[in-house]
Symmetry: C2
Subunit: 109 residues, 2 copies
């Protein structure tokens, strides 16, 4: 399992990246991240839902309800323009940190 600190660092960039282009709903995001990471990341509703509400308060995502046949209604989230800028900032930060860590790891081997 991925350490908590590292998992925490991935939540924001990963959710923003997943929402870019196609809206998704909370339950779906949890499933997709679990599958994408092959079980290494497993966010609970107690983490993801408040986090999504936070993104919405920040204006990075907006939500809309959608009713579905034979299933409970879903609350979809999609990126706002501010969210796209935030995603780009997350991407840049990640790459910057990676560029710093990778050589350290290489030197340590």
């Amino acid at each position: 399992m991925i350490s908590r600190a590292l998992a925490t660092a991935t939540l924001r960039p990963m959710v923003l990246a997943l929402l870019d282009g196609r809206p998704e709903y909370g339950y779906q995001i949890i499933s997709r991240i679990r599958k994408l990471s092959e079980g290494q990341l497993d966010w609970t509703t107690g983490t993801l839902y408040p986090f999504l509400h936070g993104l919405e308060n920040e204006g990075l995502v907006e939500s809309f309800w959608q009713s579905v046949d034979n299933a409970p209604r879903r609350k979809y989230y999609r990126l706002t323009p501010a969210g796209e800028r935030a995603l780009e900032a997350e991407r840049a930060q990640w790459m910057e940190v990676h560029a710093m860590l990778a050589p350290l790891f290489a030197a340590a081997r």
Copy 2:
């Protein structure tokens, strides 16, 4: 400045990597990380010292005092064999997460 969550995720791998091979002391680690990151990461003593004590309790590092001319004494830390294994585990985790995130970022552009 790097976000708190991401900064937090770097602390453990970065300190372990820095200590691999050559012992360093706390104040020096803070300075080196600040310089390495060009000011993007700036750990305080309130973060680093307790963290180093934790690593020592885990048996990942061991410490020894060294007196210096014209300066306060320094407490050096060096990696134990367990620390080297922990470093390798951190490296593997980081690479795994990076391999997951990088394509997501690419798709989002």
